[in-house]
C-alpha cells in the first residue's frame, strides 16, 4: 500500500493536482463517502436532532456533505488550502478553518456534539518537519479535542495505522488525555475492505450513569463477502446453476405430450411413474 504521508507533509502533498482528484475521481469519492457515513453511524447521534459536529481533516468537504444530509451543522478543519478552496467552491453550509490539528484546537470547552475524521490521524504520527514531535502533537490535539467536546460526545476517527506501535501510541495518548473507548475494526479478514475506526468517548453524558459501550464492528461473523465499493452486486457464494430449474422438467414433458396427443400426428407414449424421471448415471 502506498503511504502518502511518507512522501511529503500534508499541506504540500495535497496540492492542487491531488485535490483535483477528490472532485474528479468517483472511486475516491465513493470510498470517502462510505467511510464518512460509517463514522457518522458510529457517532450514534440522537435521531431527528440537529447537532454541531466537528470534521477534522474535512478536505474538499466530501464527509461534510454527508453530515449536512443528516441535517447537522458542522465545522471543518484542514491543513491544505487547495482542498479547502474546493470546499469553499461547493457552497457548503459550514465554517472552514485552515488549521494544523497538531497545534491544538482553539474551541471553547463543551462546544461540539461529536467529531468525525476520515483518513487523517496517521498524518499526525509523522515527523515530517524538524519541529514536529508526533507524541507532543498527538497530546496537544487530543487534549484540546477532549475539552472541545461535550461530555458524552464521541469522536470517531477512520485511519490507516502503519503498524501496531502507531495504534498503541495513538490509543495511549488519547487515554492519557481523558478519553475512553477503543478500536473498531470492520471486515478484519479482508485486506481490501478492512477499515479501522478509533472510537473515543469524552466522558459520559450527564444523567446517564451507564458507561459507554464500544459499537460492534461489521463483517466479523458470517459476513465473508466484504462490500467492495467498486462492485455493486454481491457475489453469490453458491455455485452457478445450483438452484436453476431444468428446462425439460416433468411438467414440461407432460405438457408437450398432451400437445402432441391433441394434434394426433405421431404416436405418443402413455404417462407413467417413470415419465420425466432422472436416470441413474450408470445407465
Amino acid at each position: 500500500m502506498s503511504r502518502p504521508e511518507h512522501l511529503a507533509p500534508p499541506e504540500i502533498f495535497y496540492n492542487e493536482d491531488e485535490a483535483k482528484k477528490y472532485t474528479t475521481s468517483t472511486r475516491i469519492a465513493t470510498i470517502q463517502a462510505e467511510m464518512s457515513a460509517r463514522a457518522l453511524e458510529l457517532l450514534a447521534l440522537p435521531e431527528n436532532e440537529s447537532m454541531y459536529i466537528l470534521d477534522i481533516g474535512c478536505g474538499s468537504g466530501l464527509s461534510g456533505e454527508i453530515i449536512e444530509e443528516e441535517g447537522h451543522y458542522w465545522v471543518g478543519l484542514d491543513i491544505s488550502d487547495s482542498m479547502l478552496d474546493l470546499a469553499v467552491e461547493k457552497d457548503l453550509e459550514a465554517d472552514l478553518f485552515l488549521q494544523d490539528i497538531g497545534h491544538g484546537l482553539g474551541f471553547r470547552p463543551g462546544t461540539f456534539d461529536g467529531a468525525i475524521s476520515v483518513s487523517v490521524l496517521q498524518w499526525l504520527c509523522n515527523a515530517d518537519k524538524k519541529i514536529n514531535r508526533p507524541l507532543y502533537r498527538l497530546q496537544r490535539f487530543f487534549s484540546t479535542l477532549y475539552s472541545a467536546l461535550r461530555r458524552g460526545a464521541r469522536a470517531v476517527f477512520q485511519f490507516y495505522p502503519e503498524n501496531d506501535d502507531q495504534v498503541q501510541m495513538i490509543l495511549s495518548t488519547a487515554m492519557k488525555c481523558g478519553f475512553t473507548g477503543g478500536l473498531v475494526i470492520d471486515f478484519p479478514n479482508s485486506k481490501k475492505a478492512k477499515k479501522q475506526y478509533l472510537c473515543l468517548f469524552a466522558g459520559s453524558a450527564p444523567g446517564s450513569a451507564r458507561s459507554q459501550k464500544l459499537p460492534a464492528a461489521q463483517g466479523i461473523d458470517g459476513e465473508f463477502s466484504a462490500p467492495n465499493s467498486l462492485r455493486t452486486t454481491t457475489r453469490n457464494p453458491k455455485k452457478k446453476g445450483q438452484n436453476r430449474t431444468p428446462v425439460k422438467s416433468k411438467d414440461w414433458i407432460l405438457q408437450k405430450k398432451e400437445l402432441n396427443r391433441s394434434r394426433g400426428d405421431k404416436p405418443v407414449p402413455h404417462d407413467s411413474r417413470y415419465t420425466g424421471r432422472k436416470r441413474k448415471t450408470k445407465f
Binding site: 454541531y52 451543522y73 465554517d95 472552514l96 494544523d100 519541529i131 484540546t144
Partner: protein, 125 residues
C-alpha cells in the same frame, strides 16, 4: 465563518491561557456577507446555553449589528422575534474577509475567502 462559530473560538497559541483575554477574538476590518440558511429553532435553543452572550453582543456591536438585547434573554424558545434575530446574526452572518486578533498575545488570524488561517508560528506551538 459564521458568528456562531466565532463565539466558540478562542486563541490556541501555547501559553495564551488568560481566559479573560484569549476570548473572544476581536474581528477587525471585516467584510460581512449575508448568507441564507434554513431556519432551525430547535438547534438555536439547544445551542443557546453554549453561547457566551456578552462576547456575542460585543462582537455584534463591533460589526455594527445592534439589535441584540444586552442582558441574557430568558425563555428564548417562546420569543419568536428574538429567535429570528438570533438566526440572522448567528447562522446567516458570515465574515468573508478580515482578521481576528487575540487581545492576550496579539496573534493575528487572517480571514480569507471565509476561511480563517489558524496556523501558528514555530514559537507559538
Amino acid at each position: 465563518m459564521r458568528l456562531i462559530t466565532h463565539n466558540m473560538l478562542k486563541c490556541h497559541v501555547r501559553g495564551c491561557d488568560d481566559s479573560s483575554k484569549n476570548f473572544p477574538l476581536e474581528i477587525q476590518d471585516a467584510q460581512l456577507e449575508q448568507i441564507e440558511a434554513e431556519k432551525n429553532d430547535a438547534f438555536l435553543v439547544r445551542m443557546f446555553p453554549r453561547l457566551e452572550w456578552n462576547a456575542l453582543v460585543s462582537t455584534a456591536k463591533n460589526l455594527s449589528i445592534n439589535n441584540l438585547p444586552e442582558k441574557i434573554p430568558e425563555n428564548i424558545e417562546e420569543d419568536q422575534a428574538l429567535l429570528e434575530i438570533l438566526h440572522t446574526v448567528l447562522l446567516e452572518t458570515n465574515v468573508k474577509e478580515g482578521r481576528m486578533v487575540c487581545r492576550g498575545c496579539g496573534h493575528i488570524y487572517a480571514i480569507k475567502n471565509s476561511v480563517p488561517n489558524m496556523l501558528l508560528a514555530e514559537h507559538e506551538i
